[in-house]
Amino acid sequence: MLRLERRPSPSKAWNYATPVVAVLLTMIAGGILFTILGKNPFEAIKLIFWDPLFSEQFAAYSRPQLLVKAGPLILIAVGLSIGFRAGIWNIGAEGQYIVGALCAAAVALAFYPAESVLVFPLMIVAGALGGWAWAMIPAILRTRFNTNEILVSLLLVYVAEKLLAAAATGFMRNPQGAGFPGSRNINQYASAANHEIFAGTGLHWGGVAAFVAVLFTYIMLQRHILGFQVQLAGQAPRAARFAGVAPARLVLMCMGISGAFAGMAGMFEVAGPARLISIDFNAGYGFTAIIVAFLGRLNPIGIVLAGLLLALTYIGGELAQFMLNLPAAAIQVFQGMLLFFLLALDVLSNYRVRLFLPQRATTETV
């Protein structure tokens, strides 16, 4: 008989091994899914995980895309991971990402067509503030009124989506766009555009920001008292209270940082790859970032690797869609399964699986 026995402390080895095993299991399950869909599983898996990076045919286009997609994922996920560690669940990053983009676009459109070096930094500040402010709504409701931050932050995603639609079709619509929805092309406005820094790498300022955010979070978690408080509040809330951690301040800080990071990610996206505010501007990065944060074990460096991997599934998914006629939703299912396997395997780092034979069990307990 199998029995689970709680480990005194989580297993370090399994902690590192589970993400890898989860990815392998997802590949197998994904392969089965592709077979059911009538595709060759080996070809599909190769197309998703190998060809975007190494095939001669596609790599030239898709390799730079890796950093384009991984940038916002890592930036958002690293912000979320701080709150997740403390047991504060901001799951509305998608909304903060949209509002950040809207605020940044508002700054750019307000200055248009004046050229100045100040526009771009101002947009970054506006994006971060927008995301921060949107995250402050659930944070303040939680600290002032004890309202569940999970539900509020999630419901605000729908509000942000409607706001985005109102902006794209109404108050931000391009006056020279012949009535079509969508704002001016911010990517073509020199002072506001977020271009590639080195041609052909896909690295734009969002990638740089993600790198800085990872460093910031790493140092905070490892070397700063705030990082200690975050860990403590997550692992032993009562002990944290005795140690003088103010729960309200912690909520405001964790939500604020994650919101600001998500808002910045929105800013870099709207000024870069997305080019303008459109109705379908948001591509679900805010939700995928939750998977990235878990896959990276809420560890900044792990998140970088996880972000690159999930960016790969986005690109490979597009490739498979194009080459094998695989439905776009298949990749979403794939990402969902990854999170399932990850959560399921966590049992191995927290528990020991013991094989108990009924008659032997009595002698073993002596």
Binding site: N146, L151, I290, L339
Partner: protein, 310 residues
């Protein structure tokens, strides 16, 4: 503003229809939470129910078979959640989110070939002359079977939780799983069954959306209904009758908002469409302000995982 063009009888009759999906999902989630489990996957289970119900109804030509399929599908995906949280002791918040993300993708995959199809019509129940009565006929006797099923479920859940042994065991498990375990109740078995019930209800609610309310299949068509259902449980302080009141209140807001959109008031459509979400948030704030978990009446073990030591 001029509300004169909105007929109150039609409004009440249509708000009952608008409220039924969230009512079904919320009453299921109430039972789950009463057992001490927080399943944030309602949105995912609803949308899987919506697509499976739609597909089954279109294939067989029978909306009733579609709804049965949705019940099975909702329960089946909730089984994943049950496995993760009850057997493998995974974090409930993360597992629920995973279920929602997976459900949204999975439903889009299943529903690909069903976009743009009209489902078989769900007929209204025939009450004979009763349906022709003025005012009352339209409100009480003018609906399809699921509206009555949802009302029956509210009453049944209320009775079962308060007046039967099974209901009391379930509440004991939700209030304090260690004590319940010490008394010899099977904590995990109770919770897994509750999760399956919640999944079945959410699936049925989703099918009502795709077969009656909309009726069509589009990707992501639940549009947050599952999350509103979750909020509704908090709003109702975990009491079945208040879930009903809350659901009809939200149904009213949704119908009113749609009527205002159709009437072409000068407020842009997007801002009106925001209102159900904003009002949900406001209600949550009012309900939870300055109250502790205790006075809110949240089940004591809500969201905590249970592992019997030794």
């Amino acid at each position: 503003m001029d509300f004169g063009s909105i007929n109150p009888v039609v409004l009440i009759a249509s708000l009952m229809v608008a409220a039924t999906p969230i009512l079904l999902a919320a009453i299921g989630e109430l039972v789950v939470e009463k057992a001490g489990v927080l399943n944030l996957g309602v949105e995912g289970m609803m949308i899987v129910g919506a697509v499976s119900g739609f597909a089954a109804a279109v294939t067989t030509g029978s909306p009733i078979l579609g709804m049965l399929a949705a019940i099975v599908a909702g329960a089946a995906v909730s089984l994943i959640f049950a496995l993760l949280t009850q057997v493998l002791m995974a974090n409930q918040v993360a597992s629920g989110l995973a279920l929602t993300l997976f459900g949204l993708g999975f439903s889009a995959l299943l529903g690909q070939s069903y976009v743009g199809i009209v489902p078989p019509r769900t007929e209204k129940l025939n009450f004979g002359f009763l349906s022709d009565l003025p005012v009352v006929g339209r409100i009480l006797f003018g609906h399809d079977i699921l509206v009555y099923v949802s009302l029956f479920l509210v009453a049944a859940v209320w009775y079962w939780l308060n007046y039967t042994r099974g209901g009391r065991v379930l509440r004991a498990v939700g209030e304090n799983h260690d004590s319940a375990h010490a008394l010899g109740y099977k904590v995990k078995r109770v919770r897994i069954l509750a999760i399956l019930f919640g999944g079945a209800c959410a699936g049925l609610g989703g099918a009502y959306l795709s077969l009656v309310r909309v009726p069509q299949w589009t990707e992501g068509m639940t549009a947050g209904a599952g999350w509103i259902a979750l909020a509704l449980v908090v709003f109702a302080s975990w009491k079945p009758w208040r879930v009903l009141a809350g659901a009809y209140l939200f149904g009213g807001i949704m119908v009113l908002q749609l009527n205002l959109q159709a009437a072409g008031y000068r407020i842009p459509v997007e801002y009106l469409a925001m209102s159900p979400y904003i009002i949900t948030i406001l209600v949550l704030v009012v309900m939870s302000s300055n109250r502790t978990r205790r006075t809110l009446a949240a089940p004591g073990s809500l969201g905590r995982s249970f592992h019997a030591a030794g």
